[in-house]
Amino acid sequence: MKHVLVWFHSLVFSWRHMWSEEAFAILLVLFVFTTPVFAAMRLQERSLYMQNNRPGATTTYKVSFRYMSLQTVGSVDMLFCVDPIPYHPCVTPPGLDVSNAVLSDQSGETGYSILNQSTNHIVLTRPPNLISSNGSVYTLDGIVNPTDTDQAFSIRLRTHATPDATGAQIDFGSVRGQVTNGVVIETQVPPMLVFCVAQEVTENCGVTNETRYADMGQLDSESTLLAQSQMAVGTNASGGFAITANGTPMSAGTSVIDSPQVPTESIQGSNQFGLNLVANSEPSVGNDPEGIWANAIPSPDYSVSNRYKYVPGDVVAYSPNVSLMKKFTVSYIVNSSKDLRAGVYSTTITYIASGRF
């Protein structure tokens, strides 16, 4: 054994100068040549045109794509699924039926006929032939559209060298389509946005105290004037809601009490008009949002206790999705400096509740 090892060492040692550059170069060349030449590529310029996109209608589909690999192709596999990802399990779009589809027209790469078909699967076949043109269109008549308007569906496409869509795929890709309910598409039935504003409101907007103003009293440089109002909001729309606060800061003629542009503490003796949507202790005013639904929240800038801000048009509260009714209490503070011009300072804040897109 020792003898063999000594022999091996003497042999390898004599080659030691070759190992570095030459061996490395050979390895690289091997890698280049052993990389699979027939790597699958994505079909390009893929599109689907549905002549009639009403749910359940029997119509014509035009499937277009450009072959990418200039190789021999004998079949095109079309699998109709909800999900476009080729390696995911295929869920047949509800209502779809391609079992009676007929290949009525073809352009570009031609010579195809339908080899076999089922509810959600069509295999186009032809004598294997080298790809010579790029863009191709295949028209399929007699396809029954899916019925679900809420979700898109896909056709997973694969090309094969064999005429029966077996063996390794050459190119692949998916096209998408969606059925719509006639001319009008309703995203959610029935979507509602419920909103109310007053000095006091109940969480379900059923009762308000019907007062939509707040008298804050006499401005004084040594005290902070306070007020609060309430609003309740909720929606069953999947996109949620947003509430913006709009209107100029407090003013008397041309004299305006400035508003902090960032959350700022209340400072007596300075000109300051701000608001927030949480409970505060300095000064004591307001309440935290009420309601069990957690995804409706005040915007971060308006949810810092004892910090106030007001920028017209800012979103003060929102929900990113469905939200049951939630009540927000808005706290207002006004501070004034000694040299603030005398006058009756007032403002109207318009709260606008909208859906989200």
Partner: protein, 356 residues
């Protein structure tokens, strides 16, 4: 003839006097400010065709009628979320995607207390209307109250989207992909690369350079260090849109839970994220997104991202394990050294022993 005139003048004088001497009372709100509206409408309309639809508005107030002024305004995006930026100014310029010229709604509507009213609206697309997405908003304004320093007013908004089919320019670019922390009470939503808190969302940011709104679909796959995969198949659960020119961040729950809730007597499905039960460590994220309108190319976006999830307990356990391992390795090294070279003698004691 003189007598009636003097009587009239006297009455007018009394009225004016009363008007000036009466104490100024704040006026209570005369219109309700509690309403229910439709938040969003979507239409697909071919050029030369029109849609007639209905909008139902409810007055939730028990006592006051709801008096609303309606007007159509344009809107765009506020930021990378789905919050609209309403162009409320009367002189706001019309946007290129404005639906205003095609949209007709009544100017006013009055709804009795606890009542509802259905109003007619229509969208008419001219025969030469170019393919693409058009959108505007209907604003329902309740009157504002007089009196006090701070007056309050409430308005509701319905967003109206119309898609005119045909050849359009579609172009989405993927800008970001990774773990995402949504808005917390005082923390703004953002992407995270390393986090001690278990991420519940994966987000992707797309820039829409096309001439239509887009709502991508597809799949996001998470892979941990051991190669275990977790697929998110609902990458746009709310069918959210990227408006024209918008950079939009879409969030998708790693683990999504649906719940049926009762909203104003209607059953509604609410979706929310639940803790996905991720193991600590490194995760790679792969997104495979598709978009494209009927008759246009189906476009595909493939992107990759990554993040580290290192909870505090894991960091502490890791430090303890490393410390214990270091202790035992040192002990083992000393043991081997003792065996190989025998017990080591301190230099000082060796010096002392040689002197003796």
């Amino acid at each position: 003839m003189k007598r009636p005139r003097s009587i009239f003048m006297a009455a007018l004088a009394v009225l004016v006097a009363v008007g000036f001497t009466m104490p100024a009372q704040p006026v209570s709100a005369q219109s309700s400010a509690a309403l229910s509206i439709v938040p969003k409408k979507n239409y697909t309309i071919e050029p030369g065709k029109s849609v007639k639809d209905k909008l139902t508005i409810r007055n939730l107030d028990n006592n006051l009628p709801l008096e609303l002024n309606l007007r159509v305004i344009d809107f765009t995006y506020t930021n990378d979320t789905g919050t609209p930026k309403l162009m409320l100014a009367e002189d706001a310029p019309q946007t290129t995607w404005s639906l205003k010229p095609f949209l007709t709604v009544p100017k006013t509507v009055t709804i009795p207390p606890k009542g509802s009213k259905t109003i007619e609206m229509s969208v008419s697309v001219p025969a030469k209307g170019g393919a693409g997405s058009y959108y505007s908003a209907i604003v329902y304004s309740a009157g504002s109250a007089d009196g006090g320093n701070v007056g309050l007013s409430a308005s509701g908004v319905t967003l109206v989207f119309a898609s005119i089919p045909g050849k359009v320019k579609e172009d989405l670019k993927l800008e970001k992909l990774g773990a995402y922390m949504t808005d917390k009470s005082t923390k703004k939503a953002d992407y995270v690369f390393m986090t001690t808190e278990e991420p519940q969302n994966i987000a992707y940011t797309l820039k829409n350079n096309g001439s239509v709104t887009e709502a991508p679909v597809g799949t996001i796959t998470l892979k941990d260090l051991f190669g275990r995969e977790r697929a998110i198949n609902d990458v746009n659960p709310n069918s959210s849109l990227a408006l024209i020119g918008q950079t939009r961040t879409y969030t998708a729950c790693i683990k999504l839970a649906s719940e049926s809730v009762d909203f104003n007597g209607e059953k509604t499905e609410a979706k929310k994220c639940t803790p996905p039960g991720l193991w600590p460590g490194y995760y790679s994220v792969t997104a495979d997104l598709f978009y494209g309108q009927n008759g246009n190319n189906t476009q595909e976006i493939v992107g990759k991202g990554s993040f580290w999830y290192l909870p505090l307990w894991f960091i502490i356990v890791l430090i303890v394990v490393l410390a214990v391992a270091a202790f035992y390795i040192r002990k083992l090294v000393l043991k081997i050294r003792n065996k190989m070279y025998g017990p080591q003698i301190k230099k000082s004691s060796r010096v002392r022993s040689t002197r003796k």
